[in-house]
């Protein structure tokens, strides 16, 4: 124990300690707990091994540099890249900004067009919006009801003015996996750079930047049991991808991202990648088992529930379900023993529900009734059993309160009613 009463080593190297009276965590797409093995590996780099990895004159610097380079190699290995192609950043948000803006700015005199998808993460869409204001033209590809893009539409969208195509590997709300290899082949054939936001894909599905012709890939530490505040951008060296940096300074990270590297965070991200790589096959099987059980358990006991997004082209640790006639936020309150996320946004300034679900063609009603379940490394069988019982009783309670459920039971088509929308 330290003076602060904090344990310096985890009680159990395999699982973070559970806190009593805290909901079961089913929000693994929002963030993941740092794996205790990762925390342990990071610790010495905060204290005794605190050197600046860019210090060339003494052993403190050398050992830190060696640790950072090992981490870089671990990240590269997970995606089939060379260590020299990995740039450390503060997270996937920064990586996405740097990739899209950096490439667009570098090519702006020759190519002023960007292609992306309507279901991308806000940090991609917002970067594109800003570039639009600066004179770039952006095509936002639609997705089908399964959440996947149409390759023919992508092909038609790419022109000889297209600087970069940005398509995420895995969607954060519905977990669907875009056909990266096919997209990469199209981009390569048409001479456009291919960037993929793989914050939700890395460590979850096999990725190979060469086989998939990916030129830039964004990675986030805290989605893969690593620390928050660190990520990486893969930037291809052959053929070389060039970009304009956003952060200027000492010229670290091959001049693309200045600033002293956070050695402990780099070490943490590196080990997180290595662990995911070593455990991916087994872990995917286990998670798929949990998901199948969760979905089956709910479907068996609740009528009128619908899975949003393709179930086959999907990471195993995600489910997104609409519980018809039950509002998502009310439902979240009912399942307070679970930490989940809702596609309903009746609270915030905008009354718009999830733009991702709307992009699938879901009407606002159904989008308002959705919950996202994300599970991962520390989710147990018991968590899933508890979740099923808890969700079923909350949905049944709320349906007993729902005027829409009552109408549905009476055979009234709720969508045919003239509502006074406000």
């Amino acid at each position: 124990m330290t003076a602060l009463g904090l344990k310096t080593t985890p009680t159990n190297a395999a699982t973070p300690a559970r806190r009593p009276n805290v909901p079961v965590y089913l929000d693994y797409q929002a963030t993941t707990p740092c794996d205790p093995r990762v925390v342990e590996a990071m610790l010495p780099w905060f204290t005794e091994k605190f050197g600046n990895p860019h210090s060339r004159n003494h052993a403190y610097g050398w050992e830190a540099e060696e640790a950072v380079e090992q981490a870089r190699a671990q990240i590269a290995a997970l995606i089939g890249a060379d260590a020299k192609e990995i740039i450390f950043t503060s997270g996937a948000t920064e990586s996405n900004n740097l990739a899209i803006r950096g490439v667009a700015m570098f090519l702006k005199d020759r190519r002023n067009h960007i292609v992306t998808v309507s279901t991308e993460h806000k940090c991609v869409l917002d970067t594109c919006r800003h570039l639009e204001q600066e004179g770039f033209e952006v095509t936002y590809l639609p997705v089908g009801t399964n959440g996947l893009i149409d390759l023919a539409e992508l092909e038609a969208a790419i022109t000889d003015r297209t600087a970069i195509v940005s398509v995420m590997g895995v969607n954060n709300e519905i977990g669907v996996i875009q056909p990266l290899a096919e997209i990469g082949a199209l981009c390569r054939a048409k001479g456009a750079h291919f960037h993929s936001d793989c914050a939700q894909a890395v460590g979850k599905i096999p990725l190979d930047v060469n086989a998939m012709n990916i030129d830039l890939m964004s990675i986030s530490g805290h989605k893969i049991y690593g620390p928050k505040g660190i990520g990486a951008l893969y930037v291809r060296r052959r053929p070389r991808v060039r970009l304009v940096p956003m952060i200027h300074g000492g010229g670290q990270e091959r001049g693309m991202r200045s600033g002293t590297l956070a050695t402990p965070l780099c070490v943490g991200l590196g080990l997180a990648c290595a662990l995911s790589q070593a455990e991916m096959v087994e872990e995917s099987k286990r998670l798929l088992g949990l998901r199948t059980r969760l979905l089956g358990g709910l479907q068996q006991r609740l009528p009128e529930i619908y899975v949003n997004g393709d179930l086959d082209h999907r990471v195993p640790g995600n489910l997104n379900i609409s519980f018809a006639f039950v509002e998502g936020e009310g439902l979240m309150m009912g399942v307070k023993g679970l930490a989940v996320s809702s596609g309903s946004a009746c609270t915030s300034a905008s009354l718009e529900p999830s733009y991702v679900l709307r992009a699938l063609g879901l009407n606002a009603e159904m989008a308002h009734t959705s919950l996202r379940f994300g599970f991962g490394r520390f989710t147990t069988d018991e968590d899933i059993s508890y979740a099923i019982d808890h969700i079923v009783s909350a949905v049944e309670h709320l349906r007993s309160l729902s005027p829409l459920w009552e109408m549905h039971q009476e055979g009234i088509d709720v969508s045919s009613v003239q509502w006074a929308e406000h």
Partner: protein
């Protein structure tokens, strides 16, 4: 979002859940909101010959605050005259439930629902009157 204890209590133990016969001449029904907006409230009142609300029922599709607002309103209107019930303000509801600013519209919806139920009752009663006069 942290809910107040009163909201949680109404959410977990909603009062007066259910439906009254909307064809009954003594029953007024208010149905407000829209599924696309994420909230729908149905509030019904049963009015005695003396013009007193003797029963009230609700069903709500919405967030916890919307459920609590409508549950609370059914408690409040019982025993009141139509005029008294018509004077319930959303601010009273919001205050009683300690609703945060983003949840004020849930209380507005509850006020709308009670007004709509009263209007529906009066419309029906009016029709009944004119039918009797013929």
């Amino acid at each position: 979002m942290a809910y107040s204890d009163k909201v949680i209590d109404h959410y977990e133990h909603p009062r007066n859940v259910g439906s009254l016969d909307k064809e009954d001449g003594n029953v007024g029904t208010g149905l407000v909101g829209a599924p696309a907006c994420g909230d729908v409230m149905k509030l019904q009142i049963k009015v005695s010959a003396e013009g007193i609300i003797e029963d009230a029922k609700f069903k709500t599709f919405g967030c916890g605050s919307a459920i609590a607002s409508s549950s609370l309103v059914t408690e409040w209107v019982k025993g009141k005259t139509l005029d008294e019930a018509g004077q319930i303000k959303n601010t009273d509801i919001a205050q009683e439930l300690a609703l945060p600013p983003v949840k004020i519209h849930c209380s507005v919806l509850a006020e709308d629902a009670i007004k709509a139920a009263i209007a529906d009752y009066k419309r029906k009663a009016g029709k009944d009157d004119s039918a009797a006069a013929e």
